[in-house]
Amino acid sequence: MNARHKLRRLAVLAPPMLWLGLFFFVPFLVVLRISLSDSAPAIPPYAPHWPGLGEIGTFIRALDIENYITLLSDDLYLGAYLSSLRIAATATLLTLLLGFPLAYAMTRAPKVWQPALLVLVILPFWTSFLIRVYAWMAILRPEGVLDQVLGQLGITSAPLNLLNTEAAVLIGIVYSYLPFMVLPVYASLERIDPALTEAAADLGATPLKRFFLITVPLAMPGIMAGAFLVLIPAIGEFVIPDLLGGSDTLMIGKVLWTEFFANRDWPLASAVAIVMLLILVGPLLLFQRLADTGRRA
């Protein structure tokens, strides 16, 4: 009985474990190994190559952390990491400021409308992400859609020149990741018993106090989930800063791309990727921790 129980547990756990192992852990090891290698004019462009089990000693001795030292000693990389974090954090905050009222309004909408509103939030996903970012290029470029509309309305007289600025990157990230904020926040707001805000009102809390003492704390799991769903991919974002940010916007995703494709320095690019992963693991663990305490509370 007990052995059968264990076997069944194993059968349930095996597929996701296998999946993670095959598509996350093994590639991670490959990238880690490349990051410890040296750049070399070979195919693939690094050394040493796997010599077979017999000479594993020489192989391991040939690996070093030189690339990580380069990362730390060159300001470019540290700057790119910091600016990625700053842009991603700003974008996350903006997404929250825009997404929370949206989600809140959705929970207040008549029950029959709510499924339709949810579909509307997800609707942009039906068009390719890349195409939507290209569309933003057309909107933001000088004499583009935005300039024309604002000019026609007489709000601006000169082009805004938004394209290839950090503002354009923020617009792109907020636009692209908004659903990832709205959906979890909506889910947690929707679960709040309306009797709770009524009880707060009954006990003398003004509408503003009800919002900050009851609604926001109870929506916190959704807010945190949304924040991390936006923050984490935004840090490593490549397409948006590349297409909308121009050469002025420094983000780690772009640095990674340049090292890999332009400089063909696979080992350094791998080191950049590993460090980025470590940076992302930090907030993820923090999130896990918060979610745990949230569940216990």
């Binding site: 018993d193 009797a195 709770l196 009524e198 009880a199 707060a200 009102a201 009954d202 006990l203 003398g204 809390a205 003004t206 106090k209 003492l213 009851i214 704390p217 109870l218 509370a297």
Partner: protein, 386 residues
């Protein structure tokens, strides 16, 4: 000769009988509609200070809407609600001197028991030391001393109920509103809590307004009950009057078990009314102030516990009928016997047999031929409409 009082209890607290007394809460011709459905229809009601008042009715009768209008969560379409002489129109819930204990308790899940109870006091801007003192007092009152730091999900159902009560009482409201306060408790706990609530109410001298669909709850706890039917009040009276002198067939059937016989008034001689009924022949009743004329179609209602069951024909000229024992339900404290009158297809009469003794001399069995009879004072005369 003075009339006997209704039921077997005597109440000394009855401000509603004093025409000079000023009510604490007054509903004046209040109407509330949701779309085409009217939840409350042209309803007037007065509740006095210190009363434990129950709104009783089936779901959808408007009792909860009525209470929510007093709390400020719903706005009447017409009519006025006065509390202590002040028209409540336009005053939002957070500025009304009422507090509600919610059916779901609505405890704030992210706050400790202590913080839940202190919530209302904090909104008032009460001094910290006073809040601490009041919270301690409330915790003692609700017997929750050891649980101040717990979160609601770490409490049992009964404890949560007491936190909800303590939180609603903490601000000393002019009226405490209780929405199905015992609905979520199991039977044993519910009975205990009923008496605790009554003790608490008389100790604090507060006015309680309770909404319930449970007649036992209303009967046990309330000084007066308003039985509601589709947005209107069917009767407002103390429990014993609701039970012994229901104003209509609806009230008679909603509160407790009852047998109803159709008939027509044959004669009126002072307080003694004679009704001829197709099912059980001549029925004699003792009722005051009957405004119906002879010949009027009426209903006679008799409570099951007021009917006597016997194997031999009783020596009475009226108020008796014979039939066959159809069903017996043994409930411990009493036995509910259903007797079929006039064979297959005939009506069933319910008789409640109090189990005074542990052993019966002549027990009742299924298919026994029995006689049912009742006192002249047992029957209730109800108007023929509806």
């Amino acid at each position: 000769m003075a009339k006997k009082s209704l039921g077997n209890i005597r109440r000394s607290f009855a401000p509603w009988t004093d025409p000079a007394a000023k009510p604490l809460v007054t509903f004046e011709r209040v109407t509330k509609r949701f779309g085409a459905v009217s939840a409350v229809e042209d309803l007037s009601l007065a509740i006095h200070a210190g009363e434990f008042f129950a709104l009783l009715g089936p779901s959808g009768c408007g009792k909860t809407t009525l209470m929510r209008m007093l709390a400020g969560f719903e706005t009447p379409d017409s009519g006025r609600i006065l509390l202590d002489g002040v028209d409540l129109a336009g005053i939002p819930p957070h500025r009304r001197p009422t507090n509600m204990m919610f059916q779901s308790y609505a405890l704030f899940p992210h706050m400790s028991v202590e913080a839940n109870i202190a919530f209302g006091l904090r909104q008032e801007g009460m001094a910290k030391a006073d809040i601490a003192a009041r919270v301690a007092e409330m915790l003692a009152l609700a017997r929750l001393e050891g649980f101040a730091k717990r979160r609601p999900d770490q409490l049992s159902g009964g404890q949560r109920q007491r936190v909800a009560l303590a939180r609603a009482l903490a601000k000393r409201p002019k009226v405490l509103l209780l929405d199905e306060p015992l609905g979520a408790l199991d039977r044993k706990l519910r009975e205990e809590t009923q008496y605790e609530l009554m003790d608490l109410q008389s100790e604090l001298g507060m006015t309680f307004l309770m909404v319930t669909h449970d007649q036992d709850e209303a009967m046990v706890m309330a000084d007066r009950i308003a039985v509601m039917e589709r947005g209107r009040i069917a009767q407002v009276a103390p429990p014993e009057e609701i039970y012994e002198k229901p104003a209509s067939r609806y009230v008679a059937e909603f509160v407790g078990d009852i047998n109803i016989f159709e008939g027509a008034i044959a004669a009126i001689a002072g307080d003694i009314i004679t009704v001829e009924s197709p099912v059980c022949g001549t029925i004699l009743l003792d009722e005051e102030d009957v405004s119906l004329p002879a010949g009027a179609r009426v209903f006679v209602a008799v409570r099951p516990e007021k009917i006597v069951i016997s194997h031999d024909e009783p020596a009475l000229s009226a108020n008796k009928v014979s039939g066959e024992v159809w069903d017996i339900g043994y409930l411990g404290d009493y036995t509910m016997v259903q007797v079929k009158i006039g064979g297959e297809g005939g009506p069933l009469i319910k008789v409640a047999l109090a189990n005074h003794a542990r052993r019966a001399e002549r027990p009742i069995a299924w298919e026994d031929q029995v006689w049912l009879s009742w006192e002249i004072e047992a029957g209730i005369l109800l108007g023929g409409e509806a």
